[in-house]
Amino acid sequence: MTRVMDAPRIVTTKPLVVVRNVDKNYGSVQALRQVSALVYPGEVLGIVGESGSGKSTLLRMMNLEETPDSGTYTLDLPDVSGNLFELDRFARRMLCATRIGIVYQNPHHGLLMRHSSSGNVAERLLVAGERNFATLRAKAKSALAASEFPLERLDAPPIELSGGMQQRVQLAKAIALEPALLLLDEPTTGLDVSVQALVLDTLKRLQQERRITMVIVSHDLGVIRTVADRVMVMRRGEVVEAGLVDQIFQDPQHAYTQQLVHAKL
Protein backbone atom coordinates (compact mmCIF):
# COMPACT_ATOMS: atom_id res chain seq x y z
CA MET A 1 0.00 0.00 0.00
CA THR A 2 1.36 3.43 -0.90
CA ARG A 3 1.02 5.77 2.01
CA VAL A 4 0.77 9.14 0.30
CA MET A 5 -0.80 11.24 2.96
CA ASP A 6 -1.77 14.24 0.94
CA ALA A 7 -4.38 15.61 3.27
CA PRO A 8 -7.19 17.85 2.05
CA ARG A 9 -6.12 21.46 1.64
CA ILE A 10 -8.00 24.68 1.44
CA VAL A 11 -5.83 26.17 -1.32
CA THR A 12 -4.69 23.84 -4.08
CA THR A 13 -1.36 24.77 -5.70
CA LYS A 14 1.63 22.85 -6.89
CA PRO A 15 3.52 21.40 -3.90
CA LEU A 16 6.93 22.86 -3.12
CA VAL A 17 8.22 19.66 -1.57
CA VAL A 18 7.42 16.19 -2.84
CA VAL A 19 8.83 13.22 -0.96
CA ARG A 20 7.76 9.86 -2.35
CA ASN A 21 8.07 6.28 -1.13
CA VAL A 22 11.13 6.75 1.02
CA ASP A 23 12.62 3.68 2.69
CA LYS A 24 15.51 3.80 5.12
CA ASN A 25 17.03 0.94 7.09
CA TYR A 26 19.76 1.09 9.70
CA GLY A 27 20.90 -2.53 9.81
CA SER A 28 17.86 -4.49 10.90
CA VAL A 29 16.01 -1.37 12.06
CA GLN A 30 13.52 -0.01 9.56
CA ALA A 31 13.55 3.73 10.23
CA LEU A 32 11.28 4.77 7.36
CA ARG A 33 8.91 2.63 5.32
CA GLN A 34 7.32 3.92 2.13
CA VAL A 35 6.99 7.43 3.56
CA SER A 36 5.59 10.12 1.32
CA ALA A 37 4.86 13.76 2.05
CA LEU A 38 3.82 16.86 0.20
CA VAL A 39 4.41 20.39 1.47
CA TYR A 40 2.74 23.34 -0.25
CA PRO A 41 4.25 26.81 -0.60
CA GLY A 42 3.75 28.97 2.47
CA GLU A 43 2.28 26.27 4.68
CA VAL A 44 3.54 24.71 7.89
CA LEU A 45 3.57 20.92 7.99
CA GLY A 46 3.82 19.42 11.46
CA ILE A 47 5.19 15.92 11.95
CA VAL A 48 4.34 14.23 15.24
CA GLY A 49 5.08 10.84 16.67
CA GLU A 50 6.74 9.09 19.56
CA SER A 51 10.52 8.82 19.92
CA GLY A 52 11.94 6.50 17.26
CA SER A 53 8.99 6.95 14.89
CA GLY A 54 11.27 8.28 12.13
CA LYS A 55 10.25 11.94 12.12
CA SER A 56 13.76 13.33 12.65
CA THR A 57 15.16 10.87 10.09
CA LEU A 58 12.66 12.17 7.56
CA LEU A 59 13.67 15.76 8.39
CA ARG A 60 17.36 14.93 7.93
CA MET A 61 16.46 13.41 4.55
CA MET A 62 14.75 16.66 3.60
CA ASN A 63 17.93 18.49 4.61
CA LEU A 64 19.89 16.04 2.42
CA GLU A 65 22.03 14.95 5.38
CA GLU A 66 21.06 11.34 4.71
CA THR A 67 20.33 9.27 1.64
CA PRO A 68 17.44 6.80 1.71
CA ASP A 69 17.59 3.23 0.45
CA SER A 70 14.88 4.15 -2.06
CA GLY A 71 12.51 6.99 -2.81
CA THR A 72 12.54 10.41 -4.42
CA TYR A 73 12.64 14.02 -3.22
CA THR A 74 11.94 17.03 -5.41
CA LEU A 75 11.73 20.76 -4.74
CA ASP A 76 9.67 22.95 -7.05
CA LEU A 77 12.20 25.75 -7.46
CA PRO A 78 13.27 27.48 -10.69
CA ASP A 79 16.87 26.26 -10.70
CA VAL A 80 16.37 22.91 -8.95
CA SER A 81 15.30 19.81 -10.81
CA GLY A 82 15.26 16.04 -10.55
CA ASN A 83 15.54 13.72 -7.58
CA LEU A 84 17.56 15.59 -4.96
CA PHE A 85 18.72 12.32 -3.39
CA GLU A 86 20.75 11.77 -6.57
CA LEU A 87 22.67 15.05 -6.31
CA ASP A 88 26.41 14.85 -5.67
CA ARG A 89 27.91 16.01 -2.38
CA PHE A 90 28.80 19.50 -3.58
CA ALA A 91 25.40 20.19 -5.13
CA ARG A 92 23.70 18.95 -1.96
CA ARG A 93 25.86 21.18 0.20
CA MET A 94 25.23 24.25 -1.92
CA LEU A 95 21.48 23.58 -2.07
CA CYS A 96 21.28 23.19 1.71
CA ALA A 97 23.49 26.23 2.25
CA THR A 98 21.34 28.51 0.12
CA ARG A 99 17.78 27.17 -0.24
CA ILE A 100 17.05 25.10 2.88
CA GLY A 101 17.35 26.31 6.48
CA ILE A 102 17.31 24.04 9.51
CA VAL A 103 16.94 24.55 13.24
CA TYR A 104 18.18 21.57 15.23
CA GLN A 105 16.87 20.39 18.57
CA ASN A 106 20.38 20.66 19.99
CA PRO A 107 21.94 24.07 19.21
CA HIS A 108 25.39 22.45 19.43
CA HIS A 109 24.59 20.74 16.10
CA GLY A 110 23.67 23.93 14.34
CA LEU A 111 25.94 26.58 15.88
CA LEU A 112 29.61 27.28 16.37
CA MET A 113 29.34 27.79 20.10
CA ARG A 114 32.50 29.84 20.58
CA HIS A 115 32.03 32.14 17.60
CA SER A 116 29.92 35.26 17.96
CA SER A 117 26.17 35.05 17.38
CA SER A 118 26.44 37.43 14.43
CA GLY A 119 29.35 35.33 13.12
CA ASN A 120 27.14 32.24 13.18
CA VAL A 121 24.61 34.02 10.98
CA ALA A 122 27.38 35.49 8.82
CA GLU A 123 28.78 31.99 8.20
CA ARG A 124 25.70 31.09 6.20
CA LEU A 125 26.05 34.24 4.12
CA LEU A 126 29.76 33.58 3.61
CA VAL A 127 29.12 30.06 2.34
CA ALA A 128 26.72 31.60 -0.17
CA GLY A 129 29.52 33.89 -1.39
CA GLU A 130 29.02 37.22 0.41
CA ARG A 131 32.44 38.86 0.91
CA ASN A 132 31.63 42.39 2.07
CA PHE A 133 32.09 42.88 5.82
CA ALA A 134 29.61 45.74 6.16
CA THR A 135 26.93 43.83 4.22
CA LEU A 136 27.54 40.69 6.28
CA ARG A 137 27.21 42.66 9.47
CA ALA A 138 24.01 44.38 8.35
CA LYS A 139 22.38 41.16 7.11
CA ALA A 140 23.34 39.25 10.26
CA LYS A 141 21.90 42.03 12.39
CA SER A 142 18.70 42.08 10.37
CA ALA A 143 18.22 38.29 10.61
CA LEU A 144 18.87 38.32 14.36
CA ALA A 145 16.42 41.20 14.80
CA ALA A 146 13.80 39.28 12.80
CA SER A 147 14.18 36.32 15.15
CA GLU A 148 13.77 38.71 18.12
CA PHE A 149 17.29 38.24 19.37
CA PRO A 150 18.41 41.11 21.65
CA LEU A 151 20.83 43.10 19.49
CA GLU A 152 22.92 44.26 22.44
CA ARG A 153 24.19 40.66 22.56
CA LEU A 154 24.95 40.59 18.84
CA ASP A 155 28.53 39.43 19.29
CA ALA A 156 28.09 37.21 22.35
CA PRO A 157 29.04 33.59 21.65
CA PRO A 158 26.10 31.16 21.86
CA ILE A 159 27.83 29.24 24.65
CA GLU A 160 27.14 32.24 26.90
CA LEU A 161 23.46 32.39 25.94
CA SER A 162 20.35 30.66 27.30
CA GLY A 163 18.69 27.80 25.38
CA GLY A 164 15.97 30.08 24.06
CA MET A 165 18.52 32.61 22.81
CA GLN A 166 20.53 29.86 21.15
CA GLN A 167 17.42 28.71 19.29
CA ARG A 168 16.86 32.30 18.12
CA VAL A 169 20.42 32.42 16.77
CA GLN A 170 19.77 29.14 14.95
CA LEU A 171 16.55 30.57 13.58
CA ALA A 172 18.31 33.76 12.43
CA LYS A 173 21.00 31.65 10.75
CA ALA A 174 18.35 29.54 9.03
CA ILE A 175 16.36 32.50 7.66
CA ALA A 176 19.36 34.72 6.81
CA LEU A 177 19.22 33.76 3.14
CA GLU A 178 15.41 33.69 2.90
CA PRO A 179 15.28 29.92 2.36
CA ALA A 180 12.57 28.30 0.29
CA LEU A 181 12.12 25.63 2.96
CA LEU A 182 12.67 25.91 6.71
CA LEU A 183 13.05 22.68 8.68
CA LEU A 184 12.60 22.72 12.45
CA ASP A 185 13.55 19.67 14.50
CA GLU A 186 11.99 19.94 17.96
CA PRO A 187 12.86 23.65 18.17
CA THR A 188 11.30 24.15 21.60
CA THR A 189 12.32 20.93 23.36
CA GLY A 190 14.17 21.59 26.59
CA LEU A 191 12.92 25.16 26.87
CA ASP A 192 10.65 26.29 29.69
CA VAL A 193 7.04 27.04 28.82
CA SER A 194 7.35 30.83 28.67
CA VAL A 195 10.41 30.66 26.39
CA GLN A 196 8.67 28.02 24.26
CA ALA A 197 5.78 30.43 23.79
CA LEU A 198 8.14 33.23 22.72
CA VAL A 199 9.93 31.00 20.18
CA LEU A 200 6.61 29.76 18.80
CA ASP A 201 5.32 33.35 18.53
CA THR A 202 8.43 34.27 16.57
CA LEU A 203 7.95 31.30 14.26
CA LYS A 204 4.32 32.19 13.64
CA ARG A 205 5.15 35.83 12.97
CA LEU A 206 7.94 34.90 10.56
CA GLN A 207 5.67 32.49 8.75
CA GLN A 208 2.95 35.12 8.41
CA GLU A 209 5.29 37.93 7.37
CA ARG A 210 7.57 36.02 5.01
CA ARG A 211 5.34 33.11 3.98
CA ILE A 212 8.21 30.69 4.54
CA THR A 213 7.33 27.05 3.92
CA MET A 214 8.08 25.14 7.10
CA VAL A 215 8.26 21.54 8.26
CA ILE A 216 8.27 21.24 12.02
CA VAL A 217 8.94 18.02 13.89
CA SER A 218 7.83 17.65 17.47
CA HIS A 219 6.55 15.09 19.90
CA ASP A 220 4.66 17.92 21.61
CA LEU A 221 1.17 18.12 20.15
CA GLY A 222 0.66 21.57 21.67
CA VAL A 223 3.54 22.97 19.62
CA ILE A 224 2.20 21.44 16.42
CA ARG A 225 -1.31 22.67 17.11
CA THR A 226 0.03 26.20 17.64
CA VAL A 227 2.07 26.59 14.46
CA ALA A 228 1.09 23.92 11.91
CA ASP A 229 -1.51 24.07 9.14
CA ARG A 230 -1.39 20.36 8.45
CA VAL A 231 -0.24 17.42 10.55
CA MET A 232 1.38 14.11 9.67
CA VAL A 233 1.38 11.43 12.37
CA MET A 234 4.21 8.88 12.25
CA ARG A 235 4.70 5.62 14.05
CA ARG A 236 7.45 3.02 13.63
CA GLY A 237 8.67 4.56 10.42
CA GLU A 238 5.28 4.85 8.78
CA VAL A 239 2.80 7.66 8.26
CA VAL A 240 -0.39 6.51 9.96
CA GLU A 241 -2.54 9.58 9.47
CA ALA A 242 -2.40 13.06 8.00
CA GLY A 243 -4.78 15.95 7.70
CA LEU A 244 -5.59 19.52 8.58
CA VAL A 245 -4.61 20.39 12.10
CA ASP A 246 -8.18 20.82 13.38
CA GLN A 247 -9.27 17.64 11.67
CA ILE A 248 -6.53 15.61 13.34
CA PHE A 249 -7.01 17.09 16.78
CA GLN A 250 -10.80 17.09 16.78
CA ASP A 251 -11.54 13.93 14.85
CA PRO A 252 -8.56 11.58 14.82
CA GLN A 253 -9.22 8.45 12.76
CA HIS A 254 -6.31 6.15 13.50
CA ALA A 255 -6.17 4.41 16.86
CA TYR A 256 -2.62 5.62 17.47
CA THR A 257 -3.56 9.23 16.69
CA GLN A 258 -6.53 8.94 19.04
CA GLN A 259 -4.20 7.63 21.70
CA LEU A 260 -1.79 10.53 21.14
CA VAL A 261 -4.49 13.20 21.14
CA HIS A 262 -6.20 11.80 24.21
CA ALA A 263 -2.91 11.40 26.04
CA LYS A 264 -2.28 15.05 25.38
CA LEU A 265 -5.70 16.07 26.52
Binding site: R89, R93, H115, S118, G119, V127, F133, A134, L136
Partner: protein, 304 residues
Amino acid sequence: MSLKSLTKPWQPMSYGFLDASAKRELRRKMLKSVAVPGCQMPYASREVPMARGWGTGGLQVSLTLLNPRLRVKVIDQGADDSVNAASIRRFLALVSGAPVTLDTLGADLIQSRHRIPEEIMREDQILVLQVPNPEPLRSVQPNMSIARQMHADADYGRMWLQLYEQIVRSGRVMQGAGYPSLVNGRHVMTPSPIPRWDVPKLNMAKHLSILSAGREKRIFAVPPFTRVEPLVFDDVPYRVEDHGGLTCSRSTAKGFFMNEIPQVDGSSTYEVSDSSYGVKTIQNREGDDVEFGETWYKDGEMTQ
Protein backbone atom coordinates in the same frame (compact mmCIF):
# COMPACT_ATOMS: atom_id res chain seq x y z
CA MET B 1 79.25 -15.45 -7.59
CA SER B 2 79.92 -14.26 -4.12
CA LEU B 3 77.70 -12.32 -1.81
CA LYS B 4 80.25 -9.52 -1.82
CA SER B 5 79.99 -9.09 -5.59
CA LEU B 6 76.22 -8.61 -5.31
CA THR B 7 76.36 -5.91 -2.65
CA LYS B 8 77.61 -2.37 -2.74
CA PRO B 9 80.56 -1.31 -0.64
CA TRP B 10 79.51 -0.25 2.85
CA GLN B 11 78.73 3.41 3.25
CA PRO B 12 77.69 5.16 6.44
CA MET B 13 74.64 6.67 4.65
CA SER B 14 73.15 7.36 1.23
CA TYR B 15 74.17 10.55 -0.56
CA GLY B 16 72.05 13.32 0.91
CA PHE B 17 71.13 11.08 3.86
CA LEU B 18 67.76 9.92 2.45
CA ASP B 19 67.62 6.64 0.53
CA ALA B 20 66.85 6.66 -3.17
CA SER B 21 63.23 5.53 -2.82
CA ALA B 22 62.46 8.28 -0.31
CA LYS B 23 63.93 10.87 -2.65
CA ARG B 24 62.02 9.43 -5.60
CA GLU B 25 58.77 9.72 -3.68
CA LEU B 26 59.54 13.28 -2.61
CA ARG B 27 60.43 14.28 -6.17
CA ARG B 28 57.16 12.86 -7.46
CA LYS B 29 55.17 14.65 -4.76
CA MET B 30 57.00 17.90 -5.46
CA LEU B 31 56.15 17.61 -9.15
CA LYS B 32 52.52 16.98 -8.28
CA SER B 33 52.41 19.92 -5.93
CA VAL B 34 53.90 22.16 -8.62
CA ALA B 35 51.29 20.87 -11.07
CA VAL B 36 48.43 21.76 -8.72
CA PRO B 37 49.59 24.93 -6.95
CA GLY B 38 48.59 25.20 -3.31
CA CYS B 39 47.14 21.68 -3.14
CA GLN B 40 48.51 19.60 -0.28
CA MET B 41 50.13 16.34 -1.38
CA PRO B 42 50.60 13.59 1.21
CA TYR B 43 53.97 11.88 1.48
CA ALA B 44 55.63 9.36 3.77
CA SER B 45 57.74 11.64 5.90
CA ARG B 46 60.99 9.82 6.74
CA GLU B 47 62.97 9.86 9.96
CA VAL B 48 65.80 12.38 9.92
CA PRO B 49 68.22 13.12 12.75
CA MET B 50 66.05 15.89 14.09
CA ALA B 51 62.82 15.92 16.10
CA ARG B 52 59.59 16.29 14.15
CA GLY B 53 58.39 19.86 14.35
CA TRP B 54 61.90 21.28 14.02
CA GLY B 55 61.93 21.55 10.24
CA THR B 56 62.00 17.91 9.18
CA GLY B 57 59.64 18.63 6.27
CA GLY B 58 61.85 21.34 4.85
CA LEU B 59 64.94 19.28 5.53
CA GLN B 60 63.63 16.30 3.54
CA VAL B 61 62.85 18.53 0.56
CA SER B 62 66.29 20.15 0.76
CA LEU B 63 68.01 16.76 1.04
CA THR B 64 66.14 15.58 -2.04
CA LEU B 65 67.01 18.65 -4.11
CA LEU B 66 70.65 18.94 -3.04
CA ASN B 67 73.62 18.20 -5.24
CA PRO B 68 77.27 19.19 -4.82
CA ARG B 69 76.85 22.18 -7.14
CA LEU B 70 73.92 23.80 -5.29
CA ARG B 71 74.81 26.55 -2.84
CA VAL B 72 72.68 26.32 0.29
CA LYS B 73 71.42 29.00 2.67
CA VAL B 74 69.40 28.26 5.79
CA ILE B 75 67.48 30.89 7.74
CA ASP B 76 65.50 30.68 10.94
CA GLN B 77 63.05 33.56 11.43
CA GLY B 78 65.30 35.71 9.26
CA ALA B 79 68.55 34.82 11.03
CA ASP B 80 71.38 32.78 9.51
CA ASP B 81 73.13 32.47 12.85
CA SER B 82 70.50 30.86 15.08
CA VAL B 83 71.31 27.42 16.53
CA ASN B 84 68.62 25.76 14.42
CA ALA B 85 69.72 27.40 11.16
CA ALA B 86 73.40 26.69 11.82
CA SER B 87 72.73 23.04 12.71
CA ILE B 88 70.61 22.40 9.61
CA ARG B 89 73.13 24.18 7.39
CA ARG B 90 76.02 22.10 8.75
CA PHE B 91 74.01 18.90 8.39
CA LEU B 92 73.10 19.66 4.76
CA ALA B 93 76.75 20.40 3.97
CA LEU B 94 77.93 17.28 5.78
CA VAL B 95 75.68 14.79 3.98
CA SER B 96 75.86 16.33 0.51
CA GLY B 97 79.11 18.22 0.21
CA ALA B 98 77.12 21.20 -1.04
CA PRO B 99 78.70 24.60 -0.40
CA VAL B 100 76.89 26.91 2.00
CA THR B 101 76.37 30.66 2.00
CA LEU B 102 74.75 33.34 4.11
CA ASP B 103 74.05 35.62 1.15
CA THR B 104 70.60 35.47 -0.44
CA LEU B 105 71.99 36.46 -3.84
CA GLY B 106 74.58 33.68 -3.79
CA ALA B 107 72.24 30.89 -2.77
CA ASP B 108 70.62 28.39 -5.11
CA LEU B 109 68.50 26.71 -2.45
CA ILE B 110 67.18 28.58 0.58
CA GLN B 111 65.58 26.60 3.39
CA SER B 112 63.70 28.95 5.65
CA ARG B 113 61.74 28.86 8.84
CA HIS B 114 59.05 31.53 8.80
CA ARG B 115 60.66 34.27 6.67
CA ILE B 116 61.25 35.13 3.03
CA PRO B 117 64.47 37.11 2.45
CA GLU B 118 64.16 40.85 1.82
CA GLU B 119 66.08 40.66 -1.47
CA ILE B 120 64.02 39.54 -4.46
CA MET B 121 64.68 35.93 -5.39
CA ARG B 122 65.53 34.95 -8.95
CA GLU B 123 64.06 32.38 -11.35
CA ASP B 124 66.93 29.98 -10.67
CA GLN B 125 66.46 29.96 -6.92
CA ILE B 126 64.29 27.64 -4.85
CA LEU B 127 62.75 28.55 -1.51
CA VAL B 128 61.90 25.69 0.86
CA LEU B 129 59.63 26.75 3.70
CA GLN B 130 59.22 24.70 6.86
CA VAL B 131 55.54 24.32 7.74
CA PRO B 132 54.29 23.31 11.18
CA ASN B 133 50.60 23.07 10.27
CA PRO B 134 49.77 22.83 6.57
CA GLU B 135 45.98 22.75 6.94
CA PRO B 136 44.45 26.25 6.81
CA LEU B 137 41.01 24.82 7.57
CA ARG B 138 42.06 23.16 10.81
CA SER B 139 40.93 26.07 12.96
CA VAL B 140 37.47 26.10 11.40
CA GLN B 141 37.03 22.39 10.67
CA PRO B 142 38.75 20.00 13.08
CA ASN B 143 37.58 16.93 11.13
CA MET B 144 40.30 16.48 8.50
CA SER B 145 38.15 14.25 6.27
CA ILE B 146 35.58 17.02 5.98
CA ALA B 147 38.36 19.60 5.55
CA ARG B 148 39.62 17.66 2.52
CA GLN B 149 36.10 17.60 1.08
CA MET B 150 35.94 21.36 1.61
CA HIS B 151 39.21 21.76 -0.33
CA ALA B 152 37.81 19.57 -3.11
CA ASP B 153 34.67 21.72 -3.26
CA ALA B 154 36.61 25.00 -2.86
CA ASP B 155 34.27 25.57 0.07
CA TYR B 156 36.26 28.24 1.89
CA GLY B 157 33.47 30.41 3.33
CA ARG B 158 34.48 29.55 6.86
CA MET B 159 37.97 30.98 6.33
CA TRP B 160 36.38 34.42 6.07
CA LEU B 161 34.44 33.65 9.25
CA GLN B 162 37.76 33.59 11.08
CA LEU B 163 38.56 37.05 9.76
CA TYR B 164 35.02 38.24 10.57
CA GLU B 165 35.42 37.10 14.17
CA GLN B 166 38.77 38.86 14.49
CA ILE B 167 37.35 42.15 13.21
CA VAL B 168 34.30 41.84 15.47
CA ARG B 169 36.40 41.13 18.56
CA SER B 170 39.44 43.29 17.96
CA GLY B 171 38.38 45.84 15.38
CA ARG B 172 40.93 44.58 12.85
CA VAL B 173 42.29 41.38 11.34
CA MET B 174 44.58 39.90 13.99
CA GLN B 175 46.02 37.04 11.90
CA GLY B 176 49.71 37.78 12.35
CA ALA B 177 51.41 34.84 10.69
CA GLY B 178 50.34 32.08 8.32
CA TYR B 179 47.78 34.35 6.69
CA PRO B 180 45.41 32.16 4.60
CA SER B 181 45.93 32.83 0.92
CA LEU B 182 44.28 31.69 -2.28
CA VAL B 183 46.76 30.15 -4.69
CA ASN B 184 46.11 30.38 -8.43
CA GLY B 185 42.47 31.20 -7.69
CA ARG B 186 41.74 27.67 -6.51
CA HIS B 187 43.31 26.30 -3.31
CA VAL B 188 43.58 28.10 0.00
CA MET B 189 46.90 27.43 1.69
CA THR B 190 48.64 28.57 4.81
CA PRO B 191 51.92 30.07 3.59
CA SER B 192 53.66 28.68 6.73
CA PRO B 193 53.93 31.11 9.66
CA ILE B 194 55.61 33.85 7.65
CA PRO B 195 54.50 37.34 8.74
CA ARG B 196 51.88 39.24 6.74
CA TRP B 197 54.82 41.30 5.47
CA ASP B 198 56.10 38.31 3.48
CA VAL B 199 52.86 37.02 1.94
CA PRO B 200 52.81 39.53 -0.98
CA LYS B 201 56.33 38.35 -1.87
CA LEU B 202 54.85 35.03 -2.98
CA ASN B 203 52.45 36.63 -5.45
CA MET B 204 53.77 36.24 -9.01
CA ALA B 205 57.23 35.56 -7.61
CA LYS B 206 59.94 34.47 -10.02
CA HIS B 207 61.20 31.71 -7.77
CA LEU B 208 59.72 28.32 -6.92
CA SER B 209 58.49 27.94 -3.32
CA ILE B 210 58.05 24.47 -1.85
CA LEU B 211 56.34 24.21 1.51
CA SER B 212 56.74 20.99 3.45
CA ALA B 213 55.39 19.77 6.79
CA GLY B 214 57.32 16.73 8.06
CA ARG B 215 55.17 16.03 11.09
CA GLU B 216 51.93 16.38 9.12
CA LYS B 217 53.39 14.65 6.03
CA ARG B 218 52.19 17.20 3.48
CA ILE B 219 53.93 19.06 0.63
CA PHE B 220 52.52 21.95 -1.38
CA ALA B 221 54.07 24.48 -3.69
CA VAL B 222 53.80 27.90 -5.26
CA PRO B 223 55.33 27.65 -8.73
CA PRO B 224 56.94 30.72 -10.32
CA PHE B 225 54.59 33.43 -11.58
CA THR B 226 51.57 32.12 -9.68
CA ARG B 227 48.90 34.32 -8.12
CA VAL B 228 48.86 34.25 -4.31
CA GLU B 229 46.07 36.37 -2.89
CA PRO B 230 45.54 36.84 0.84
CA LEU B 231 41.87 36.33 1.79
CA VAL B 232 40.24 39.69 2.45
CA PHE B 233 36.81 41.24 2.62
CA ASP B 234 35.88 43.57 -0.26
CA ASP B 235 35.76 46.51 2.14
CA VAL B 236 38.63 45.56 4.50
CA PRO B 237 41.94 45.72 2.61
CA TYR B 238 44.96 43.54 3.38
CA ARG B 239 47.54 45.27 5.57
CA VAL B 240 51.11 44.27 6.27
CA GLU B 241 52.82 44.99 9.58
CA ASP B 242 53.49 48.68 10.12
CA HIS B 243 57.28 48.41 9.96
CA GLY B 244 57.87 50.77 7.07
CA GLY B 245 58.98 53.64 9.29
CA LEU B 246 61.26 51.62 11.58
CA THR B 247 65.05 51.80 11.44
CA CYS B 248 67.45 49.00 12.40
CA SER B 249 69.44 50.10 15.46
CA ARG B 250 72.54 48.16 14.32
CA SER B 251 72.64 48.50 10.56
CA THR B 252 70.46 51.61 10.06
CA ALA B 253 68.56 49.72 7.34
CA LYS B 254 65.10 51.23 7.05
CA GLY B 255 61.77 50.09 5.68
CA PHE B 256 62.10 46.33 6.23
CA PHE B 257 60.56 43.78 8.58
CA MET B 258 62.07 44.28 12.04
CA ASN B 259 62.56 42.28 15.23
CA GLU B 260 61.49 44.23 18.29
CA ILE B 261 64.03 44.23 21.12
CA PRO B 262 62.45 45.33 24.41
CA GLN B 263 64.63 47.58 26.54
CA VAL B 264 64.98 47.82 30.32
CA ASP B 265 63.30 51.24 30.37
CA GLY B 266 60.20 49.84 28.68
CA SER B 267 61.01 51.22 25.25
CA SER B 268 61.96 49.13 22.22
CA THR B 269 64.69 49.11 19.66
CA TYR B 270 64.49 47.32 16.34
CA GLU B 271 66.81 45.12 14.31
CA VAL B 272 66.24 44.12 10.72
CA SER B 273 64.89 40.57 10.78
CA ASP B 274 66.80 39.43 7.69
CA SER B 275 70.23 39.17 9.34
CA SER B 276 72.05 38.67 6.02
CA TYR B 277 70.67 41.96 4.71
CA GLY B 278 71.56 43.68 7.98
CA VAL B 279 75.15 42.39 7.86
CA LYS B 280 75.51 43.52 4.25
CA THR B 281 74.23 46.98 5.19
CA ILE B 282 76.80 47.22 8.00
CA GLN B 283 79.61 46.01 5.70
CA ASN B 284 78.57 48.55 3.09
CA ARG B 285 78.62 51.33 5.69
CA GLU B 286 82.11 50.26 6.72
CA GLY B 287 83.31 50.60 3.14
CA ASP B 288 83.36 46.96 2.04
CA ASP B 289 82.40 46.11 -1.51
CA VAL B 290 79.00 44.49 -1.07
CA GLU B 291 76.51 43.52 -3.73
CA PHE B 292 72.87 44.28 -2.88
CA GLY B 293 69.98 42.79 -4.75
CA GLU B 294 66.68 44.49 -5.48
CA THR B 295 64.38 44.31 -2.46
CA TRP B 296 60.68 43.43 -2.42
CA TYR B 297 59.98 46.51 -0.28
CA LYS B 298 61.32 50.04 -0.51
CA ASP B 299 60.60 52.34 2.44
CA GLY B 300 57.93 49.95 3.61
CA GLU B 301 56.08 49.79 0.28
CA MET B 302 55.99 46.78 -2.04
CA THR B 303 57.95 47.56 -5.17
CA GLN B 304 56.19 45.09 -7.49
